[in-house]
Symmetry: C2
Amino acid sequence: MTVLILTCPQDVTTDMVVDKLHERGVPLVRLDPADLPGEAALSAEYVRGDFRGYLSADGRLLSMSALRSIWVRRPGRPAAHAPEPSPWLTAESGLSLYGMLYSTSARWMNHPCVAEQARCKPWQLGVAHRSGFAVPPTLVTTFPRVAEEFALQYGEIVVKSASGPPPGDPPVSLPTTRIGPDTDFAGVAAAPTMLQEYIAKRADIRLTCVGRRLFAARKVAASDQVDGRYGTAGQSWEPAEVPERIAKAVHEYMSLAALAYGAFDFAEDADGVWWFLECNQGGQFGFIELETGQPIAAAVAAWLGSPAL
Amino acid sequence: MTVLILTCPQDVTTDMVVDKLHERGVPLVRLDPADLPGEAALSAEYVRGDFRGYLSADGRLLSMSALRSIWVRRPGRPAAHAPEPSPWLTAESGLSLYGMLYSTSARWMNHPCVAEQARCKPWQLGVAHRSGFAVPPTLVTTFPRVAEEFALQYGEIVVKSASGPPPGDPPVSLPTTRIGPDTDFAGVAAAPTMLQEYIAKRADIRLTCVGRRLFAARKVAASDQVDGRYGTAGQSWEPAEVPERIAKAVHEYMSLAALAYGAFDFAEDADGVWWFLECNQGGQFGFIELETGQPIAAAVAAWLGSPAL
């Protein structure tokens, strides 16, 4: 039984997981949908209820009946490397590939249809609250007056991207920025803007959930630092214990969102409360593993390579 | 309780449903996501588990707590009408809008995450078989040799689009074309190609499913006609009885695919068997209603306007 990894060649995090799969002796095929058609090829036959599908990629021929699991990491746009790419060829190639993969009984980390919803930060907040997390008051608006009132009510607030990292390759991120109630909010009308109560934090928490396994890392915050991903000020990520209440909420969130993988960001305040900021269903973990030594790549490989959940 | 319709202004099928909603006295808001931000505006606040959201569109202010149902018809690309459109603004606007809508308890026809999977024709074939439909042998391939073998095995076959109507506005369709085993299949390597056993049909069937209601229409096929959507040869759509076995399979398909609306295409052969060709989760129904007089728009309005399922 084989693992299929959908990602682009530049993705070094995948290399870490590939090493672990090799150690476990689990066969794998690495495919960039951008290479279909061309380097990669497919064939799927549906005859009287029998479905036989094959993928040719990575120098291997993979039968869909031998597919154990599919890891959606950083897949390229289907047919992007074709000699004459077009939106039509991308649609034909993408829906053929994913249509064939959806027809299998393979487990997904994460299923693309689930991921689409999980990417929406406003939706995450409601799910996080229902899961039992503390969630900072948050506003998404195009009304300058509503933004002003929110800022007046909460005093210190932060502005952040509403949609998470923008689509595209290479992925880019914008830092979260602290602003005061005297800000000019006129620009809010030009784009939905996400404002959140500022949590005075003593640490950032990154909790990576792989199936049922949790890896929490903690980084002491510099006094003037807002976004833990930028301006490290000499601090580094250290392994952290996961409070039982948080573990329960994480499992509840993963179940409600139907995710197999999620990277949770929290702000730890002076009282030790972990405030939910977001859950990135495709979040990076390489930098955490490198700093903390937590075996996250091995956990991903174990999930992908295990016969069943 | 209000109905939200996501569609572009050019969508005349929506006008038919809007009339029926007006007749029933059901309040509605029509929104083109392309108008956000600008003509349309939104605001969503998440505070300690309370979620309050508002949409301003169509000259109305709509509270998310008063949202009964959402009909996804032909929505434009978010922020497409902005003074300075960009992929980033589209992402921010789209995920803000849909993130807010996903946070409501409104019923969807159809939920975008469900629709994404339902669009994949190869996936449809497996679901159709499991639902109890007769499904013609079908191949999706980039291997010319496999295409040749399929053509030799089945003799008369058709080639069709693998992904259904391509994305884009206005939507376009390609007719299904009949080919023989002597075709040159070399071009298959340049794009995944869908081949299907040719069903010698005496009629086309279009079955529209709205919630639990079924509307079947039948059009006698001209002897040389392959795609019922083109070349009508003087025949017109007539209302048809739905065999009990088909009704059962349709409900099973809708349940497996988690759809509230689906437009099924069948080919009726000389023995009266209805062969499943595809289920378009966003398929048109206006032309069927105009020819048969079947009250499909009224059924959509009833589903959207009803308090619960």
